[in-house]
């Protein structure tokens, strides 16, 4: 008989000479065998395992394909944006009233400056946005610096090819992730917040501000802010990127006229696409900070091998019931 994940997990559990809890653990492990096994927080009287099998193979694989795709999509997307470095609201572009406009200008005292204009408010962003140095070190007029775009030089045609290739990859990868993890109830059980979770939001915010990380049984499950952040990414931001991206396609708008209607026009869809892209960047920054704070080796190991070492509870801080911060993958 092949060894299942559940049995493998079981052998590594501590106190396995105790038969009664073992059966409980076995049942729990079985329940989450095809799952990312973080679902049910162990009751306080049960032994907390040293390590848990946190991420299924599919979750790990799709996580990394997603990471690479989003990286290429961001850089190629920023290159595409440079062809029309402005954002508008509505069906058509009202060139006199952009929501955002990035441009280069010469000041009266002869300086070459990059300007970012948001609803008429101008901010000088020389060096980063509007004007940045090329490979030779000369300031040039371009919306984003060369290290933020793919290719590094302005090339709408190439950038579009890369963008659409990785958009397909993102969609197929995301569909596989969502379909499988809905089927095995990972999303419902491990990511969907419970009522108790929602009540802990204020406490969780305080814990995050104090950089307090959970240990023991509490570290086995995700905290409520973490759950909401992951749900925002997998159910709102990434699907939103795909849908607003498709709304920019004239072919898709003919096939599904509801798309431009839902998003308030092709230009609004493009603006939302831009905002969601930077929201994903913001998520990524927090994701990295939390990973480092929670222990980068353990966290990286868990998203590569699936195995997560559960931080030990302290005598003075049990980490129980406070809704303390979980470990971010």
């Amino acid at each position: 008989m092949p060894v299942t994940h559940a049995e493998y997990t079981l052998r590594r559990l501590p106190n396995s000479d105790n038969l009664a809890p073992l059966n409980t653990q076995r049942d729990k492990a079985r329940m989450t065998a095809t799952n990312d096994a973080i679902g049910t927080p162990a009751a306080s009287h049960e032994p907390v395992p040293d390590r848990i099998y946190r991420h299924s193979g599919l979750t790990r694989a799709t996580h990394w394909v997603n990471a690479i795709s989003l990286y290429v999509l961001l850089l190629s997307g920023l290159n595409i944006f440079m062809a029309e470095p402005a954002l508008f609201l509505g069906q058509y572009a009202d060139f006199n009233h952009p929501a955002l406009h990035i441009f280069a200008a010469h000041t009266s005292d002869g300086r070459f400056v990059g300007i970012t204009e948001i609803f008429g408010q101008q901010i000088e962003t020389t060096g980063l946005i509007g004007v940045s140095n090329n490979a030779m070190g000369h300031p040039v007029s371009r919306a984003w610096p060369s290290w933020l775009t793919l290719p590094s030089y302005r090339d709408l045609g190439t950038a579009r090819h890369w963008h659409f290739f990785f958009a397909w990859l993102l969609v197929l990868n995301g569909a596989a992730y969502l379909a499988w993890n809905t089927y095995v109830r990972h999303i419902q059980k491990d990511l969907w917040p419970t009522k108790a979770d929602l009540r802990q939001i204020p406490q969780s915010i305080i814990d995050h501000i104090k950089l307090k990380h959970p240990t023991g049984a509490e570290a086995i499950r995700y905290n409520v802010l973490q759950k909401l952040a992951y749900l925002a990414v997998i159910l709102v931001l990434v699907p939103g990127m795909v849908l607003t991206g498709l709304t920019m396609s004239p072919g898709m708008d003919a096939a599904f006229p509801i798309l431009p209607w839902v998003f308030g026009g092709r230009q609004t869809a493009r603006t939302i696409h831009f905002i969601f892209a930077w929201s994903l960047v913001a998520f990524f920054v927090v994701h990295m900070v939390e990973m480092v704070l929670a222990g980068p080796v353990n966290e990286l190991t868990s998203i590569i091998t699936g195995w997560y070492r559960v931080p030990k509870a302290h005598d003075d801080a049990t980490g129980q019931g406070s809704g303390a911060k979980g470990n971010v993958q």
């Binding site: 062809a83 029309e84 060139f95 045609g157 659409f164 898709m252």
Partner: protein, 259 residues
């Protein structure tokens, strides 16, 4: 947590160093990767997937959204060539396109040559549609023109014809740089595909492609060929200019401009 605190900085340093190294490698490597021909082939394969998917989703009769007069853009941006300097085109402008002819030839049974008045005498279609530039902006304009499908039916395609090519009068710069575009037969016979000679209730102006431009809705702006002088039915796009079916497709843009 104390364990993390003890080992954190060292790990952070290691992480930072590897991220910085990886970042440097990626930036340095990106351009050599994006300009690698075999990598490009793989990346560009997505265009076929996009084209086939959209053809599957778009029924031939499905129309691009149409708008009301009140939706018209206050200013419709003219892009690409806005004032061709080609001598023959200048002469046409000077004579008010009196000597201009629209030739329809290639793989057709009845080649044609139409004056602007003859084209205008044909049954027309008027539509208010959104023009989507590949750069990202959109403008809404009102177009009146002769449906291309009816014209091509009159010319009667030979069975081997697969594409319609639009030869334009504007040079983009240098020898053999005249604009051209092409579309598949499915789009030729689409109800909104017209040879437009009026824009916003006035004769088409030079910046917008006088005397006649293509409107093939459901596609990006670069498919909407301006300054048309010849329509050719062909079996393959390989033998034309760069072989990829259009001025911009020859320069790295998708021939399928539906996305």
């Amino acid at each position: 947590m104390s364990e993390v605190a003890k080992t954190g900085p060292a790990r952070r340093g290691w992480l930072k160093a590897s991220l910085a190294g990886l970042g440097g490698l990626l930036v340095a490597g990106c351009d050599s990767v994006t300009s690698n021909r075999s990598v490009q082939k793989i990346i560009e394969s997505a265009e076929g997937l996009t084209r086939r998917s959209q053809r599957l989703l778009l029924t031939p009769g499905q129309l691009a959204p149409e708008f009301r007069e009140s939706d018209l853009s206050p200013t419709f941006k003219a892009n690409g060539t806005v004032d061709p300097q080609d001598a023959d085109y200048r002469a046409h402008v000077a004579s008010g396109f009196a000597n201009w002819r629209l030739r329809v030839d290639g793989l057709v049974e009845h080649p044609m040559s139409l004056t602007l008045d003859e084209l205008k005498a044909r049954t027309s279609r008027t539509q208010i549609t959104r023009h989507d530039c590949v750069e990202g902006w959109s403008c809404i304009g009102k177009w009146k023109g002769a449906p291309l499908g009816a014209l091509i039916r009159d010319a009667k395609l030979k069975p081997e014809a697969k594409y319609i090519v639009f030869h334009c009068m504007d040079s983009m710069g240098g020898e053999d740089s005249r604009y051209y575009e092409s579309i598949a037969l499915a789009d030729v016979f689409h109800a909104q595909t017209i040879l437009a000679y009026e824009m916003n209730d006035a004769p088409l102006t030079v910046p917008h492609g006088a005397p006649v431009r293509l409107r093939v809705e459901r596609y990006l702006g670069y498919k909407q060929a301006k300054y048309i002088e010849r329509i050719e039915a062909v079996a393959s796009l390989k033998d034309l200019h760069g072989g990829r079916g259009g001025y911009w497709p020859d320069r790295g843009y998708e021939w399928y401009g539906g996305i």
